[in-house]
């Protein structure tokens, strides 16, 4: 029995490719999410794409596009609600999070069966189609190019927004851009591991990498390696042990985090 045996099937190859694309995108965007302490917002975005998915499903539109629109609306909504600091950002996130998720559940309850929509909540990486894969790839390229182009501005606004503002970099506008990039990454991840587990793919690999190094480029590189390898290992576990793929992927990520955490504690103690 070869480890690569499952990849003789087309659906496994598509799943592995989807894991690569989404893993890279989530790890890169997630690094900023973790370092800027925006974990709650990514969790919220993962949940608020639900109404977009349901509306697209009911109207037979592209579900990816439905999720994309809902994600971007959420990102802009949070930025708009908290723009004058009259409403704290976490409050704005809480409002958008619950409102959109409730709307999604309400719309789902109107559909006769929950069965078709269950994969929205829990993901179905094994059912990724070629069209979805192409769309993810295009979105991923856009997100990665934007991150590379804005790297120094995003880096600066992450640790010293005041200096950024003084020299003319609009930190608020950049936050909007980052929120939209997070929304785009979330849309890809939702198809893989579902609404419920998406934030794990954004948060856990960068959080693990940040425990291992104090250099931003290395944090990003390690996060990518952890995200992609966790996705592939999770896929193999799901194939051989016949368990849910999304949950397997996230649990492999968590094991990586546990190992990194333990290694750090040992290093501190020695």
């Amino acid at each position: 029995m070869s480890v690569l045996e499952p990849f003789q099937y087309a659906f496994m190859r598509s799943a592995a490719l989807a894991g690569l694309v989404v893993g890279v995108t989530c790890a890169l965007v997630g690094t900023y999410v973790v370092l800027r302490r925006m974990a709650f917002i990514s969790d919220a975005l993962a949940h608020t794409v639900l109404p977009g998915l349901v509306i697209a499903y009911l109207n037979r539109w592209s579900m990816t596009l439905g999720a994309l629109v809902a994600g971007v609306i959420t990102a802009l909504g949070i930025g708009w609600l908290s723009r004058r600091r009259e409403l704290r950002e976490d409050t704005a996130i809480g409002i958008m999070f619950t409102a959109m998720f409730a709307l999604g559940i309400l719309l789902m309850s109107g559909v006769r069966t929950y069965r078709d929509l269950a994969h929205m909540l829990f993901g179905n990486i094994l059912g990724v189609t070629q069209a979805q894969l192409l769309l993810f790839s295009a979105v991923a390229v856009g997100v990665i190019v934007a991150l590379m182009a804005l790297h120094k501005e995003l880096e600066l606004t992450s640790f010293d927004p005041l200096h950024a503002q003084v020299i003319g970099i609009n930190a608020d506008r950049l936050r909007y851009v980052l929120l939209v990039l997070v929304a785009l990454a979330v849309v890809g991840a939702v198809q893989l591991v579902g609404v419920v587990l998406t934030s794990a793919l954004l948060i856990v690999p960068p959080a693990t990498a940040a425990l291992l190094t104090k250099r931003l480029p290395l944090v990003m590189l390690l996060a990518v390696l952890i995200a992609v390898s966790s996705t592939w290992v999770g896929l193999l576990l799901s194939y051989y042990y016949d368990v849910a793929s999304g949950a397997a992927i996230v649990l492999v990520c968590i094991v990586c985090f546990g190992v990194a955490w333990g290694w750090r504690q040992i290093r501190r103690a020695v």
Partner: protein, 242 residues
């Protein structure tokens, strides 16, 4: 730099943080902002830096309206304003002083890195250039911020309590660097509590209390500060007795 009857307020705050503040800072001088905590020193620096809008009054920085000459202004915030746990090196932080000269989407050149290393040399931190910024002491972190201002080659430097809780070496280096900058025609405005230093090293000063100007000029500021310290001590003693 000239301010006339400037009023400013933080978003959502009921009271004005600055109320009718007027001052004039000549080019190539070292200017001190003195006053108790909450007097408005940091607020005034933020208004000059363009971080807080002027609600009423007139403020001209380097002869222009606020925000018109951003590359020429370096603002050194209190250390608590920066996320020191962020995973970047000292050298990379100082490089951010070059960003106004780089513009969007451009990578730093060899010349930019040379300027960064020269700035680190000037504040005595070249050996720590590759350290993560959180691994430095408070004084070293303050020097890194000063190195960034040097790398920026700013005309106006705004420093928010740079000498607060730092070691003697850092105090000496900061004083020397600021003196050298003023000699080169740069203008420096510093929020400080150090009265002796104000008298020794500053050309002009202003005492703020509850967002208003109470005294102007090094001598008047010294008198006013001593009065305030005396009153504060008397208040403390009466409280202890009570």
């Amino acid at each position: 730099m000239e301010a006339h009857a400037v009023h400013a307020r933080y978003a959502g705050a009921a009271h004005l943080a600055l109320s009718g503040v007027s001052l004039r800072v000549r080019w190539g001088t070292c200017f001190a902002l003195v006053g108790p905590n909450g007097a408005g020193k940091s607020t005034l620096l933020k208004v000059i830096a363009g971080l807080l809008p002027v609600q009423a009054g007139d403020l001209r920085v380097l002869g222009h309206e606020v925000g018109a000459c951003r590359a020429a202004i370096a603002y050194l915030p209190q250390r608590s304003e920066i996320d020191w746990s962020f995973p970047i090196s000292v050298r990379r932080l100082v490089l951010s002083g070059r960003y106004p000269h780089l513009g969007w989407l451009r990578l730093p050149s060899r010349e930019d890195w040379r300027v960064v290393d020269a700035a680190l040399d000037q504040v005595g931190l070249r050996d720590l250039a590759e350290r993560q910024i959180g691994e430095l002491s408070g004084g070293q972190q303050q020097r890194v911020l000063l190195a960034r201002a040097l790398a920026q080659d700013a005309t106006l430097l705004l420093l928010d309590e740079p000498l607060n809780a730092v070691d003697v070496t850092t105090q000496r280096i900061i004083s020397e660097v600021l003196h050298a900058l003023v000699q080169r025609g740069k203008t420096v405005i510093v929020a400080t509590h150090d009265l002796d230093r104000v008298q020794r090293e500053f050309d002009d000063a202003l005492f703020l209390s509850e967002g208003r100007v109470v005294a102007v000029g090094v001598h008047s500021v010294r008198e006013r500060t001593l009065q305030w310290m005396h009153a504060a001590n008397a208040f403390d003693v009466s409280h202890e007795r009570a």
